[in-house]
């Protein structure tokens, strides 16, 4: 009986010992990986910082202007080229009846004079207005 217990306990001890070391090495490996990832992260962040500075340098107005002059056919906008959303004529509250488009081919005035069906007409409403009095329109990023 006692030898059985001895075998049992020594087996258990060996198992636990093996398990302990296994977990320990596993953890160490993970820690190493974490450290590497963290190092890479810092490196990437460093790079991002440098690239952002470089981007700003390449994005400076002086260079954009020079390139625009060289490659584009555009000039500074004139006041006459500016407009507001309000100046764009609204599509009328009476939208074009698709039937009337076809009717030009086959004139049927009687049909066109028919009373409109009771479907509510779609009136386009502006979903956004440009507020020119607000803060400067962002030109950044």
């Amino acid at each position: 009986m006692s030898w059985r217990a001895t075998v049992f306990w020594s087996l258990l001890a060996a198992l636990v010992g093996f398990g302990l070391f296994h977990v320990k090495y596993q953890v160490q490996k993970l820690e190493d990986r974490l450290a590497k990832i963290n190092r890479d992260l810092v490196h990437e962040q460093d790079q991002i910082h440098v690239l952002r500075a470089e981007w700003t340098y390449l994005d400076r107005p002086e260079r954009i202007e020079r390139l625009a002059k060289k490659y584009l056919d555009l000039g500074p906008p004139k006041a006459t080229q500016m407009g507001s959303i309000a100046q764009i004529p609204m599509r009328g509250a009476d939208p074009v009846d698709p039937a009337s488009l076809q009717s030009s081919a086959q004139p049927e005035p009687a049909v066109r004079r028919q009373p409109k069906p009771a479907i509510p007409t779609f009136v386009p409403t502006p979903v956004a207005t440009i507020d020119r009095s607000g803060p400067l329109p962002g030109g950044g990023r």
Binding site: D46, R60, P137
Partner: protein, 564 residues
């Protein structure tokens, strides 16, 4: 053995066995207590105290520059810090100084080999070889594999926009301390906080202003120029340029004249632009109305001075015509009618006598105020001589004149949306409305026609001041300026341009006055920036615009003034 004997022996054995057992038990008990103590301690160490895994890996530290960025109002970087490597050597570890010097000189051609060798054979244990190497150079030096060479991670301040905003942003020294501009005034915050400092500057406007001023300096062979764009409603500086300027990466060795910020440090006599303050004062204090007329025929003699008009009309002028033709005589008479005390009170109210304490830049010009302030001072200050202020002073005062009569503190830091802007009323709204029309008149019919930009209702005032030299005014060297506001129906921006000692050209028929030199700069700047500043063009001939700008309509009690 007899049974009795056995029993006795048994008794003796039993007794000793008993003793042995007791001792064993006691020993075991002691061991159990010791083991329990260890178990408790292990439990305490692993579960309760310091229960977590020891941290072997360092946490990811994001790149933290020792100095925060400076960005413009749209978040574009104006100044940032980049990590660089600086090369140093420990000469004691260098095996062959001559060979090493030769190799280093090959990859860093800007360093002479003899100099490196001298450094490497010095007896010290630390010598700088080169600060702030490029990554390529760092790699090349590393590839040499010379023992005794080391890199130190350093930071370098980088200004991607170069000269464009040099005076506002300023610069920092090699030890990362701000030495000028925002870099200096926000030094503490830049070094302690990671949050970038956001300026009110709009880089796009800044660049355009820079370009137009540089073009004017070039065209008129001027010694310098300065200009600014200010938000009249909030006192924010949108752009501010002073020429000549400098490269903030390398400010040492530059001409002090280039480092000098004309906008905030330079104090100048602002010439006829001051007539806006004179007329505002007269209208607001009630000493004049639009119907008042002034003698512009006879020169005024005060002591040894004689006040005359530059290109006189030689007739009696109405108040509006004094502004329109920029009459010195008229301005002097308007100020004298109001009286020295009233005039002075208003000049002080417009903030023209004190330094701009609200401006977050270390460079501050102090206005030159006459002391004592006599009658002759009031007369000359009425048309802008005898009192010197910075261009920022002038722009702020004009902002108050045009934008409803409230003087706002100026700032180069972006105001948060919805933030209450402090202000102080200096003239009534009614006076300001009349002043808008007068400023508009200068551009439509007066001396500032070259500032006109169709659709943007520019208004303003020209100014030409003779520069003071040794022993009085220098006849031939002018300071030509134009200060404007737009759109005049509800002024939103102030644009100021000042050109120092311009020379007339064939195009300007030899003129070097504010109307010929500075007004076109303002016109160009407004034409190019109005859209990005969010100002919507209007039809100048629309009836509501015409009536808003018409002097005759909403000036109660005034007589009709002949348009010309």
């Amino acid at each position: 053995m007899s049974g009795e004997e056995l029993a006795r022996l048994d008794g003796v054995h039993k007794q000793s066995v008993e003793i042995g057992r007791k001792r064993l038990l006691m020993g075991a008990g002691l061991f159990i207590i010791a083991f329990l103590a260890i178990v408790a301690r292990v439990g305490d160490l692993t579960l309760l105290k310091d229960g977590y895994e020891p941290r072997q890996a360092a946490r990811a530290q994001p790149f933290t520059a020792s100095r925060a960025d400076i960005v413009d109002r749209n978040g574009v970087i104006l100044a940032t810090s980049l990590a660089t490597a600086s090369l140093y050597a420990n000469p004691h570890h260098v095996l062959d100084a001559k060979e090493a010097a030769k190799k280093i000189a090959r990859v860093l051609p800007e360093l002479p080999a003899a100099e490196i060798e001298a450094k490497l054979s010095s007896g010290r244990s630390f010598v700088w070889l080169k600060r702030n190497l490029t990554p390529k150079a760092e790699y090349a030096v590393n590839a040499l594999g010379i023992p005794g060479l080391y890199f130190l991670r350093e930071e370098r301040r980088v200004y991607p926009q170069g000269n464009d905003a040099a005076h506002v942003v300023g610069y920092a020294g090699t030890d990362n301390h701000g030495l000028a501009g925002v870099e200096k005034s926000f030094d503490e915050q830049l070094r302690t906080s990671e949050q970038p400092v956001q300026l009110s500057i709009d880089l796009r406007v800044q660049h355009i202003l820079h370009e137009e001023l540089a073009a004017a300096v070039d065209k008129f062979r001027a010694v310098g120029a300065s200009g600014l764009v200010m938000d009249a409603n909030t006192g924010e500086i949108i752009a501010m340029v002073s020429l000549p300027d400098f490269d903030p990466h390398n400010p040492v060795g530059h001409d002090p004249d280039a480092i000098f910020d004309r906008n905030t440090m330079g104090v100048y006599e602002m010439g006829s632009t001051f007539k806006l303050f004179t007329v505002s004062m007269a209208l607001d204090s009630g000493s004049a109305t639009l119907a008042s007329t002034y003698d512009a025929v006879h020169p005024i003699k005060v002591g040894r001075f004689t006040i005359t008009d530059y290109k006189g009309e030689h007739r009696w002028l109405s108040l509006a015509e004094v502004i329109k033709y920029s009459s010195n005589l008229g301005a002097a008479r308007i100020a004298m009618e109001a009286g020295v005390a009233t005039h002075r009170k208003y000049i002080e109210r417009f903030g023209l006598t004190k330094p701009l304490t609200s401006l977050e830049l270390p460079e501050h010009g102090i206005p030159h105020v006459p002391n004592p302030w006599r009658e002759v001072n009031t007369m000359t200050i009425a048309f802008g001589h005898g009192l010197s202020v910075t261009p920022v002073h002038l722009a702020r005062g004009v902002a108050a004149v045009a934008d409803g009569g409230v003087l706002h503190p100026v700032t180069v830091i972006k105001r948060r949306p919805g933030e209450a802007v402090p202000g102080e009323r200096v003239i009534s709204e009614q006076t300001s409305y009349i002043m808008r029309k007068l400023m508009r008149l200068v551009v439509t019919d007066g001396t500032g026609k070259f500032a006109a930009v169709p659709g943007y209702l520019v208004g303003g005032k020209t100014g030409t001041a003779e520069k003071t030299g040794v022993g009085g005014y220098k006849r031939k060297s002018n300071l030509s300026l134009f200060v404007s506001a737009f759109p005049m129906t509800a002024p939103r921006y102030i644009v100021l341009a000042m050109v120092d000692e311009p020379h007339g050209t064939k195009d300007t028929y030899g003129y070097s006055t504010g109307g010929w030199v500075a007004a076109p700069v303002v016109g160009h700047v407004i034409a190019r920036t109005a859209a990005m500043l969010g100002v919507q063009p209007v039809d100048e001939n629309a009836p509501e615009v015409r009536s808003a700008m018409d002097l005759n309509v909403s000036a109660p009690g005034s007589k009709r003034i002949a348009a010309n």
